[in-house]
Amino acid sequence: MSENIFESLIDTTKMQKKRSLWFNAWMRLKRNKRAMVGMVIVLFFILIAVFAPLIAPYHFDDQELDRAFQFPSKEHIMGTDNLGRDIFSRIIYGSRISLRLGIISVAISTGAGIVIGAISGFYGGKVDNVIMRVMDIFQSIPAMLLAITIAASLGPGMGNAMIAIGITRTPGTARLIRGMILSIREMEYVEAARAITASDFRIIFRHILPNTLSPILVNVTLGVAGAIITAAGLSFIGLGAQPPLPEWGAMIAGGRNYIQRYWHLVTFPGIAIMLVVTSLNLVGDGLRDALDPRMSR
């Protein structure tokens, strides 16, 4: 009995300690109306993406040429495209593609950025110098151009677009992580870990990286937003998702030739991009303010 009380006491103190930082950040985030609006819309799109086949009234590749180019109506609330496909359904399926494109490309760049940034920041000296100069060179190429060139050399397709965007975003992430590590490397607790002969790997992954989590989280959120825009651009010029996939950028490209008479083919996919990216940016901005109250802007 007494042991139980003792244990539960320990548990509660542990819990309080553990949750305090993130819990406080969450409380601050909850008070931020803009961030909450963004979060609701992002969650909404995630749900749409997950349950696309249940929500969409038609399949994304249901072609019926005799109903092509219909303006928005009760039956097709966003109209139909040049092949008679329901634009609303395509946008719903497209949320799967765009979110996946954004998330996987950022996963690539974050993974690579953490490894490169950690090596560079932790070892410093010549290694750091060389790595950072190489990153400089990559960053002197406009991001969109680099993505286009990589995607062009790998060939069209979703997977290649993700790799292209992932590589393009890596130098920025690596630089962010390196900066964080440079400042944490000299902290006392890192010195303490070193004193008890912890390996470099352990110091980096157990002691340093967990403390860089909040800027990484912000970077990931804003990164997914940016990656979705870049991916749409790649698909627009024919390098990303290929027809008949309803990627939003590809849908805009498909409707482009008909804008003279049918505005709805390009308008709705663009609005979808804008909504998702705006909300992700809202969440990212909110997270930044919530995780680092000093930087609140």
Binding site: R34, M132, R133, V134, D136, I137, F138, S140, I141, P142, A143, M144, L145, I148, T149, I150, A152, S153, L154, G155, G172, R175, L176, R178, G179, L182, A225, I229, A232, G233, F236, I237, G238, L239, G249, I252, R256, I259, Q260, W263, V266, T267, G270, I273, M274, V277, T278, L280, N281, L282, D285, R297
Partner: protein, 319 residues
């Protein structure tokens, strides 16, 4: 100062070589047979083999790269286009000024409008104006510029018939593409300017200035803005680099015969030498701008100049 300028100029050499190497490698690993792309499907294998030998495509990678870089840097020779058989440099010369003009108009608009918006927002932080402007700016950075371009041409060209929708036959034709590009740029620049000014406003010397009774407009104009100028300059260069990237796709929307349209055409035609040449020229252009910004930066900020008076320079992280 001279020391810094020389150092920065010398650094351009590895940057340009590195950029060339990156793009060259990318195009080199691209799948597909260049001989087939250049000569067509029906060509016999012997002729293709001969052509490959003639073009030096059988040499080791580094030799091929060395030869290419040598030609690019000494004679500005980017090879011949597979599809038009003309020297690529001629194609680029015909298109490069167009892209530069579109981008220059866009970057001018971006900074003339974006920077003041950012300053107003920062000075009136948390006011209704600030909130409104920042929500608009956030929406602005969340739109792909090619889509903004399409919306502009639907509204202003096709429905209102104020401006031409595509092509390039006079100054009027620059308006829509440049504003479409600028819209996203303005939003970006407003956000960045706001946060740079806020960073400065939080500094102790601003509090000091206020405490000793300096008039608020003077605090802003003399103490805050002067110091915020440095990050603002960096961001002008950055915005130009982002605009150039955006222009690649936006040009396609308006069928502007610039570098972006050419790049996309070359990608569709699998015209690898043209893709390579176009990418390199644009990358060079953008590195040159970054160089210019760095030099300007040093001119404005005495702290950077003084770094180079010592024996060894310590580069801070530029992020």
């Amino acid at each position: 100062m001279i020391r810094y300028v020389t150092k920065r100029l010398l650094w351009m050499v590895p940057v340009l070589l590195g950029v060339t190497l990156i793009v060259f490698t990318l195009i080199h690993i691209a799948p597909g047979d260049p001989a087939e792309a250049a000569l067509g499907f029906e060509t016999s294998d012997e002729i293709k083999a001969e052509w490959r030998e003639e073009q030096g495509l059988n040499d080791p990678f580094l030799i091929q790269f060395g030869r290419y870089a040598y030609r690019v840097f000494t004679q500005l020779d980017f090879g011949t286009s597979y599809s038009t058989r003309r020297p690529i440099i001629d194609e680029i010369k015909a298109r490069f000024p167009t892209t530069v003009k579109v981008c220059l108009v866009a970057v001018t608009l971006t900074n003339l409008i974006g920077v003041p918006i950012g300053i107003i927002s920062a000075v009136k932080q948390y006011s209704f104006t600030d909130n409104l402007l920042m929500v608009l700016a956030l929406i602005g950075v969340s739109m792909p510029s090619f889509w903004v371009g399409l919306m502009f041409s639907i509204i202003f060209a096709l429905h209102l018939r104020w401006l031409p929708a595509s092509g390039l036959y006079g100054p009027k034709y620059y308006i829509l593409p440049s504003t479409a590009l600028a819209l996203v740029g303005i939003a970006m620049s407003a956000r960045m300017t706001r946060s740079s000014v806020l960073d400065v406003i939080r500094q102790d010397y601003i509090t000091t200035a206020r405490a000793k009774g300096v008039a608020e407009y003077k605090v802003i104009m003399k103490h805050a803005l002067r110091n915020a100028l440095i990050p603002i300059i960096t961001q002008i260069g950055l915005s130009l680099s982002i605009l150039i990237g955006g222009a690649m796709v936006t040009e396609v929307v308006f069928a502007i015969p610039g570098m972006g349209t050419y790049l996309v055409q070359s990608i569709r035609a699998l015209d690898y030498p043209a893709i390579l040449g176009t990418s390199i020229v644009i990358a060079f252009f953008s590195s040159a701008i970054l160089l210019l910004v760095d030099l300007l930066y040093a001119l404005v900020d005495p702290r950077i100049r003084s770094q180079f008076k010592g024996k060894k320079h310590l580069r801070g992280s530029k992020a």
